[in-house]
């Protein structure tokens, strides 16, 4: 009796394993079959033939990357870069990373990378200087403060106007603060998120406005000691795009790759995986 039970359970496991392998192989062949026509690696306009050179800034912040190592393919933007590369038919080993500071990424002249992925918001003014891909993430601004700050409880639209805000230079947060919140005190502008966190800890500013995933990461990781995310603001139709030098023909193939990733749910899956816990915060009105 026991031996029969053992045999049938082993058989069941084997059948399940076989079915799983079969479905996986069917899935992978389905993905391979959807290679984009005219966009094979050999047909693309690349900085260096046979390699996809992706740029980002240093340090590469969580949750967009993990452990400041874009190569590990973790973090939302790390994963998106490798997903785009895979959709175009590149092997993982063909993807190379390079460092490009945000300030020089839009300098005129030829670039030393194929595209730059660095939480760069697409705007019409910026599109005059560089070429953007389609959006791969719709960002929302959020507000983080320290425990015990009046912001935690008093954040109605009229109350929001009275606080001193901080933001990082180069982000669209400053425009958001000025347009939507319209505070009475001039906001402070910092070089990088670390300085803003210091200012928040020093109580020099009362609230720091940045994108929702970054804000939530700062609070949950303890970067802002006893940080509290007050909430995220409503969507403002702004999206992050990949940055190419002006007129780079590579963008058309990359756009088709992004469309494919949107349609087959990859982008949504990656967002849930890497940003899910960072975006489940309440909405507040500016």
């Amino acid at each position: 009796m026991k031996r029969e039970l053992l045999a049938s359970s082993v058989a069941a496991v084997l059948v399940a394993a076989a079915a799983a392998t079969a479905s996986v192989s069917i899935q992978s062949t389905t993905v391979l079959a959807k290679a984009i026509s005219g966009c094979a690696p050999s047909q693309l306009h690349l900085y260096r033939a046979g390699q996809l050179i992706v740029a980002t800034d240093a340090p590469a912040y969580t949750p967009w990357f993990e452990k400041n190592q874009p190569r590990n393919g973790k973090g939302y933007e790390g994963a998106v870069a490798y997903a785009v590369a895979k959709a175009l038919g590149f092997k993982q080993s063909q993807v190379h990373w390079t460092i490009e500071s945000f300030d020089s990424s839009y300098a005129p002249g030829p670039k030393t990378f194929d595209f730059d992925i660095n939480e760069i918001t697409i705007t019409a003014a910026r599109a005059k200087a560089v070429t953007f891909s389609e959006g791969y993430y719709n960002d929302r601004q959020a507000l983080i403060t320290y425990k015990g700050s009046p912001l935690v409880t008093a954040h109605s639209p009229s109350q929001l106007k009275t606080y001193k805000y901080g933001d990082q230079v180069g982000t669209t947060s400053l425009a958001y603060i000025e347009q939507q919140i319209q505070p009475t005190q001039t906001p402070a502008v910092y070089n990088n998120p670390n300085d803003a966190v210091s200012a928040l800890s020093d109580r020099t500013i009362q609230g720091f406005v940045t994108d929702a995933p970054t804000a939530q990461y700062m609070a949950s990781s303890g970067e802002v000691k006893h940080g509290v995310v007050v909430g995220q603001f409503p969507s403002n139709d702004q999206a992050y795009g990949l940055l190419f030098h002006k007129g780079n023909p590579l963008v058309s193939c990359v756009n088709r790759a992004i469309t494919q990733l949107k349609n087959n749910g990859t982008l949504t899956r990656l967002q849930k995986k890497w940003l899910g816990i960072y975006t489940s915060i309440p909405t507040i009105q500016p």
Binding site: A107, R126, V169, A175, T186, A188, Y190, S198, A199, T204
Partner: protein
């Protein structure tokens, strides 16, 4: 002949030492012709040089894009006047912040630096600790880069949570960092000036019955300060640029405003406007310094035939 020094500095006339004085009329006409020729040559060579540079700039392959990126007129207007709804701050308003900072800082620096320089001039063993403090101060603040001092004071002092001291508005910390750092340099400039006054001045003052302190105050320091006005003005011009460092504390001064414009529109014209604004401040100061030097030289060498 040198009643207007500097006008024909590179004229062959002055280098040779003067026209031949066989006859006054011939000498003057000759010198006038030589002068005119010198002017023509210098104008022509300047035009050629500028022309070559302009040609290099305009006919370089990437010239159109560089002009669009660095010299874009609509962006220059936005940068200069600001566009608050677009998150862009006026560089003109931001410049006022820089001006307020360096004017206030300069006054405090001149006073603090003089105090330190005088402390270092003190003699006698009883003032030894004071001199050591002054020496340590100048060594430290000349050694540590100003940016680190700004960070340390701007982020460190508020974090200390000292009553009163830690809750000042941010510009106070920026100002303190500038004053502490620059006073170290300027005190050395003062010291050089004081040392350059001949010891016979002090000896003469003491022999007239003035005490050391009175001798310093009435005889040495006025001479010393007059001698070091050019390097002091030099440090002042340098201070004007270094006010940009307070931007790391969140203050929107000119370079930060330029950076905001630049990253919002992906265009570097904001920096060009900022550079132009700083030139507007610096060039008159530099010409004023030259004039002061020339006037001082004239006064000191009055009566000397040359």
């Amino acid at each position: 002949m040198t009643s207007d020094p500097g006008r024909f500095d590179d004229s062959p006339l002055l280098v040779a030492g003067g026209p031949p004085s066989n006859s006054l009329g011939g000498g003057r006409r000759h010198s006038k012709l030589q002068g005119r020729r010198a002017v023509a040559v210098s104008v022509a060579s300047s035009v050629v040089l500028l022309g070559v540079l302009a040609a290099l700039f305009f006919f370089a392959p990437g010239s159109a894009q560089v002009r669009q990126t660095f010299f874009n007129i609509p962006d220059a207007r936005t940068a200069f006047l600001g566009d608050p709804r677009g998150g862009i701050f006026s560089e003109l308003d931001a410049l006022l912040i820089n001006i307020e900072l360096f004017l206030t800082a300069e006054v405090l620096i001149l006073i603090l630096a003089m105090v330190i320089a005088l402390i270092r001039q003190l003699t006698g063993p009883v003032t030894f600790p004071l001199r050591m403090i002054a020496i340590a101060y100048t060594d430290f603040f000349r050694g540590v880069p100003l940016l680190l001092v700004v960070y340390a004071i701007g982020f460190g002092v508020p974090a200390l949570n000292l009553a009163g001291v830690s809750t000042q508005p941010v510009w106070v910390y920026g100002l303190a960092a500038l004053v502490l750092s620059y006073s170290a340099y300027v005190s050395e400039v003062y010291r050089a000036g004081i040392d350059s006054v001949h010891p016979s001045q002090v000896a003469a003052a003491r022999s007239l019955g003035l005490s050391h302190g009175q001798a310093m105050r009435s005889v040495v320091i006025p001479q010393a300060v007059r001698r070091v006005i050019p390097p002091l003005l030099n440090d002042f011009i340098s201070l004007q640029k270094d006010t940009a460092l307070v931007a790391v504390l969140g203050i929107i001064e000119v370079n930060r405003a330029a950076g905001i414009v630049s990253s919002t529109d992906f265009n570097y014209t904001g920096y060009t406007v900022g550079a132009f604004l700083f030139l507007l401040l610096t060039v008159p100061m530099a010409r004023f310094t030259d004039w002061l030097i020339a006037r001082d030289r004239r006064r000191r060498q009055a009566g000397v035939a040359h």
